[in-house]
């Protein structure tokens, strides 16, 4: 390793154009990276700094007078608990359903014995390329009784062609002998699926799971279109409504906190502090999960692109 690294450096004469290029290159990437991260940092430091300082716009680089009052107060907000539960449930249930269905269908579509297999495969895959539009979807959901129903978050997302393609492609790369050996031992198709295929596909299923989970957590449009019942709002939708009715919110919080308490400017909730705090709560899972699972994301997009 060391040899490889050192040799070319010694040989190569250093050009000024090279140095200039390097400096500019590093600088541009450093700046763009900061632009990508700073907004999140800004939100976080403002939610943990004294609210009067934050409202005065002086918290730009370092937090001051730390307190966690914002988080404590925001958790008391009406509706936030429900919305967090809805978001959590749809992420957990929806992701599980998508992953299991994608795994099962991806596996079944590798079984050449299946009756008219390629027709059914195409039947599903082709749905990636068209959609009926918002209104026909809305009317369909309404007729099915899925409007104002938690399951509208889960059921339509169960069959996802792209994920099925990913899993099928992956299973095709697993040696066929595994399945054949199990068949000779008398294992049925479900046993083979559960005992052999599922464990063998963990990497690709992790990828599917992580994409599905992020999509569920971030989803906003389905709440907007199909849900009017406040109890079923997702966190994203709640955040959106908070941004739009920011001023009425502060009064709402004031009423919900202790009436007898002396108003303290540093910890008193403002519309801005509420909005930022909820934003941080919404983005935090992504911020934590993303660096840990980055390789799965990258793998997912690569396998997908190979298939095209």
């Amino acid at each position: 390793m060391k040899k490889e690294l050192k040799l070319p450096q010694k040989k190569k004469p250093v050009h000024t154009s090279d140095v200039v290029f390097n400096v500019i290159n590093y600088a541009v990437f450093a700046i763009f990276t900061i632009i990508c991260v700073y907004p999140f940092y800004y939100l976080v430091i403002n939610t943990i700094s004294a609210n009067d300082l934050s409202a005065a716009g002086v918290i730009n680089f370092l937090p001051q007078k730390l307190h966690i009052g914002n988080y404590v107060e925001v958790l008391k907000l009406n509706g936030l608990g429900d919305a967090a539960l809805v978001s959590l449930m749809r992420t957990v249930i929806g992701t599980t359903a998508t992953v299991l269905a994608s795994a099962f269908l991806g596996f079944m579509f590798t079984q050449s014995r299946m009756w008219a297999r390629s027709i059914w495969y195409r039947f599903i895959v082709i749905t990636m390329y068209f959609n009926a539009g918002i209104i026909p979807m809305y009317i369909t959901m309404k007729n099915l009784g899925l409007t104002n129903n938690f399951w509208v978050y889960v059921i339509p997302a169960v069959v996802q062609p792209f994920n099925i393609i990913l899993v099928k492609t992956y299973i095709e790369s697993i040696p066929k002998e595994l399945q054949e050996a199990a068949e000779i031992d008398g294992a049925g198709i479900f046993k083979i699926f559960g005992k052999i295929i599922l464990p063998a596909c963990t990497p690709i299923l992790a990828t599917v799971a992580i994409f599905a989970a992020v999509a569920q957590w971030n989803s906003f449009q389905d709440t907007l279109i199909y849900i009017t019942d406040q109890k079923l709002y997702s966190l994203q939708y709640l955040l959106y409504s908070y941004i739009n009715q920011a001023s009425s919110l502060a009064t709402l919080v004031k009423n919900s906190t202790n009436i007898g308490a002396v108003a303290n400017l540093a910890t008193q909730q403002t519309a801005t502090s509420i909005r930022m705090t909820v934003s941080v709560i919404v983005v935090l899972p992504i911020l934590f999960i993303y660096p840990l699972f980055q390789r799965f994301f990258v793998k997912g997009i690569m396998i997908g692109s190979v298939k095209g």
Binding site: I134, I135, P136, T140, V159
Partner: protein, 321 residues
């Protein structure tokens, strides 16, 4: 064991036929297992197409469709004959093509991003850049808007900084105005998608044979020549596939970004086709007109995809779907 022996040897005709039947039964049973999923797929992807019939009625929501008047192509004609409708539609199409066009033009950014990032030899720096610049891709547009609001609203960070230092005397309306709306949307799009968009190209670069670079270096090529004549050509195939896909998706800007950023000030330059369909259908409650619009949009999109695919097959010998 027995079954395999039967199939392999096929000694007895009767037995062979029997196992054949068994195999067919098994194939059919497999089909039964996936049937529930096929039904789900049908209900949520194919059945809504039947809802296109609403485009041919004068549908008024509380009524049943059978109680509404059949109007034939009235809505389609209206879109192209009614002067106010036509001017509105033209505006919407301008926005749609404008924003999609800008996205097409800037589709070279991720290529450049990847090429220049791969020139950075310091590994930890490269990893940090890659991880942090892909992060915005995974947050929702709502959060992007919340970020935008925190930084760029009249009381946001940028305005208070500028006011504080006396650069401006009055807060700039970044969000509540209609100046440079397309450009602002493009910038947010770039902020969110640039890092992620470059990942595929970075992987393509890491797949380039290192000997190519060695050979070129021996021949006296400098760094910029390597980038221009080796790295860049290696990325072109991927670039063209993605470019064709974006051409096929020219009508599908999606609506979330434009929905969250739209307000009464910038609506004229914000309404892309997807958002317009939503505004007409869900808020204007003209279900039939919106259905007619989405129907045309879907058909045009599918035709575009097929055309692009044919072009791709003819020019590159590969289909993209």
């Amino acid at each position: 064991m027995k079954k395999v022996a039967e199939i392999d040897l096929g000694r007895n005709k009767q037995q062979g036929a029997k196992s054949n039947l068994k195999k067919q039964m098994k194939g059919f049973r497999y089909f039964i297992y996936i049937l529930p999923f096929l039904v789900l797929c049908f209900i949520f992807s194919y059945y809504p197409l039947y809802g296109w019939r609403y485009a041919f009625y004068d549908y008024k929501p509380p009524l049943q469709l059978s109680q509404c008047a059949f109007v034939g192509f009235k809505w389609f004609k209206m879109l192209f004959a009614n002067p106010t409708q036509v001017s509105q539609l033209i505006k919407v199409m301008e926005n749609t093509f404008g924003m999609s066009g800008l996205t097409l033009l800037t589709s070279v950014f991720p290529v450049a991003f990847a090429i220049f990032l791969s020139e950075i030899k310091c590994k930890w720096f490269k990893n940090i850049v890659q991880t942090l610049t892909t992060l915005p891709n995974f947050i929702s547009w709502i959060l992007v808007y919340s970020v935008a609001f925190s930084l760029f609203s009249t009381t946001g960070m940028v305005n208070s900084l500028l006011l504080h230092h006396g650069v401006i005397s009055e807060a700039i309306k970044f969000l509540d105005s209609d100046s440079h709306t397309w450009l602002k949307m493009l910038l947010w799009n770039t902020w969110k998608g640039l890092g992620w968009g470059s990942i595929m190209y970075l992987a393509a670069i890491s797949g380039v044979d290192q000997e190519l670079y060695e050979a070129a270096r021996v021949d006296g090529a400098n760094r910029f020549k390597l980038m221009r004549y080796i790295t860049l050509p290696a990325l072109l195939p991927t670039f063209f596939v993605l470019l064709m896909l974006s051409v096929a998706n020219i009508l599908n800007n999606g609506m979330e970004q434009y929905y969250v950023f739209q307000n009464s000030f910038n609506k004229a330059h914000m309404q892309v086709l997807d958002l317009y369909v939503y505004n007409v259908g869900m808020t204007g409650a003209s279900y039939s007109l919106a259905t007619a619009l989405s129907m045309m949009k879907s058909i045009v999109s599918v035709v575009l995809l097929v055309v692009v695919n044919v072009v791709s097959k003819a020019t590159r010998g590969e289909s993209i779907i």
